[in-house]
Symmetry: C2
Subunit: 363 residues, 2 copies
């Protein structure tokens, strides 16, 4: 059997820096645990635009369809801010999500014990927090047609379309219920069914799917209240299920609760391929952080933990994923800190590469 | 000259309870400060549905168009959850917003000194917080067409349309810049211009309007980052300008930062009427709170402070608005607390009506 394949797309800003540390981890698993991967690398985002004039070359897209997992760093940066919408770095990422049909975006918001003091929230509100946001990732207002800027009378109008079919809602809901079965058996679905018909259909389909998971407790919340409850009492949640746009906002809100945005990974999963593995792309929740790019200051942990999610969801190596996550926890407990994790403790920050080495050493 | 007119729409749940306290305040200003108002009252939301079979009668709509200010309590409740979308209690409120053309929704998020301990956030992050969210309120995905649930092939699809014209964006932007001129001269505009063309037009128009306010510092932020920054470091903001849907979520998030959702008022303003006053509706940010309705537990302060906003924005009584706000601050400083404001202090909560009386006494 061939080795499982990974396509690395470091992207822009701190993407290449954090990805270099993931490479060390991949090498370690090959050398020490006999987990060999065929690793290739390519361009995405601004880096791809610089070379190809578009944020994702067709050959890269084809490769992404072909591998067992894609690892992505981050896209975008001020150099690309004035590009035309159609070639913006983000379009490369959105094309991957859409064409790979990665409908289920898993975003854990976890508070690491060693970092509980670091949150803006009071410690008792976040300590031990462990929620999973499932964000629908291939539809909604991100992709709905018609869209664009049009002439209307003597002015222009900007239009986007929120659009969800029953089957799109159903498959995202199913993945949330499946996850809840392996967690604390609670799903809270968030929409604006009081204002949007797409939210009414969302609520109806989620309720229907829930009948197949009688052990899971389902609740519904309007997304505005959801944002409020995330700040007020986030531990009330287990799995949160929501659409593409609400998920974008709510997951950033949830991520910040833990005070450790440089720490949070994500997995974007699609339907099973022929080999039984899901189509999959893994990426940190943080962006390309142009302000610190190239300075060796970035925290590679979010990207490293994204690889841990790959071990778990693509390569069926749950125990090895646990091992990697435990190594990260140990490094944090030992007080190793990149600059983003420094409270007022007077600790010297380590560099991106020192953090990667520390995780390897703790494995 | 006739007295200025106010239409009171108490609505559902705790709406009537908190509005009863506002009535005491209005009476006080008439008796003690010679500010006489012609006050009438009518139904909205579930209460209107029960009587008329729809959440806002046409006569009520006509009255609302005719008065100098509308004061609204809250709409909705579990009794109405299964009503058809077109007659849901919320539609009554949305009809008022749309037909009165109340395009600028002002939502202050303020941390009251006496309550800084009450937030989920650490005290230094929220103490002294004073931001103003300006939410566009008459357009966007709340009202865009086409909308509905349609058949498509052998399944259904839920559709809503995000839609903003240049002039809609412009007038909301102008109101944000005007406010910033009277505050700390900073506007942060939030959208998803990296994903939505309507966000691109939004950013372009806001930038154009800003040329008329050279003293105001304008920044742009993606709405997901905005949610994150609100939790991370809310004091970086002065005025936040955003659209209807993002404003719904971000303002709830901001409200919760202060830990005092029962405290926060809002004003929804439209174009000037013949008498020079803006079309205006004032309402607390909180909802109808069915869980505590009818128990005398609700905090009337948000609704009382909404009347203070009416004094300021509709009746040109800034000094009297200050007086009312100072009375609320004094009552809080004296330790008077409704049940929602009790931390672990062992204080006995006062009732809705006792809180109203305390504010009157402090005036
Ligand atoms: C970069 C951007 C297109 C993206 C999104 O809006 O989905 C990002 O914010 C995210 O959450 O992954
Ligand atoms: C009640 C509901 C229609 C309303 C909205 O979504 O605008 C509410 O959440 C608000 O923020 O005023």
């Amino acid at each position: 059997m061939p080795n499982p394949s990974i396509l690395i797309l470091p992207g822009d800003g701190i993407g290449p820096e954090v990805m270099a540390e993931v490479r060390k981890i991949i090498t370690w698993f090959g050398d020490k645990r006999g987990l060999q991967f065929d690793v290739s690398e390519d361009l995405v985002g601004g880096a791809a635009y610089d070379k190809h004039g578009k944020p994702l070359a067709d050959e890269t897209m084809a490769k992404a369809q072909d591998v067992d997992a894609v690892l992505l760093g981050a896209v975008g940066g001020p150099a690309y801010d004035n590009l035309d919408f159609s070639v913006k770095p983000e379009r490369g990422l959105l094309r991957l999500r859409k064409e790979m049909d990665l409908y289920s975006n898993l975003r854990p918001a976890q508070c690491f014990d060693a970092l509980a003091d670091f949150s803006s929230l009071k410690k008792d509100i976040v300590a031990g927090l462990d929620i999973m946001i499932v964000r629908e990732l291939t539809s909604g207002v991100y992709f709905g047609e018609p869209r664009g800027i049009f002439e209307e009378g003597n002015e222009r109008v900007g239009i986007n379309t929120q659009r969800y079919t029953e089957s799109e809602i159903e498959r995202a809901a199913r993945s949330a219920f499946e996850l809840a079965m392996r967690r604390n058996k609670k799903v809270c679905s968030m929409e604006k069914a009081n204002v949007m018909e797409s939210g009414i259909l969302w609520r109806e389909v989620v309720t229907r799917v829930s009948a197949d998971y009688p052990e899971v407790e389902l609740s519904h919340m309007y997304a505005d209240n959801g944002a409020m409850q995330l700040v007020r009492a986030p531990k009330q949640f287990d799995v949160i299920l929501t659409d593409n746009l609400f998920g974008d906002i709510l997951s950033d809100c949830a991520a910040m609760l833990t005070g450790s945005l440089g720490m949070l990974p994500s997995a974007s999963l699609g339907a099973p391929m022929e080999n039984g593995r899901p189509k999959a792309l893994y990426e940190p929740v943080h962006g390309s952080a142009p302000d610190i790019a190239g300075q060796g200051k970035a925290n590679p942990i979010a990207c490293i933990l994204s690889f841990a999610m790959a071990l778990r969801y693509s390569f069926d190596q749950g125990a090895e994923a646990d091992r990697l996550e435990a190594a990260v926890e140990k490094v944090l407990a030992d007080g190793v800190r990149t600059a983003d994790l420094l409270a007022s403790e007077g600790v010297e920050p380590v560099s991106t590469s020192q953090m990667g080495d520390a995780v390897v050493a703790a494995l």
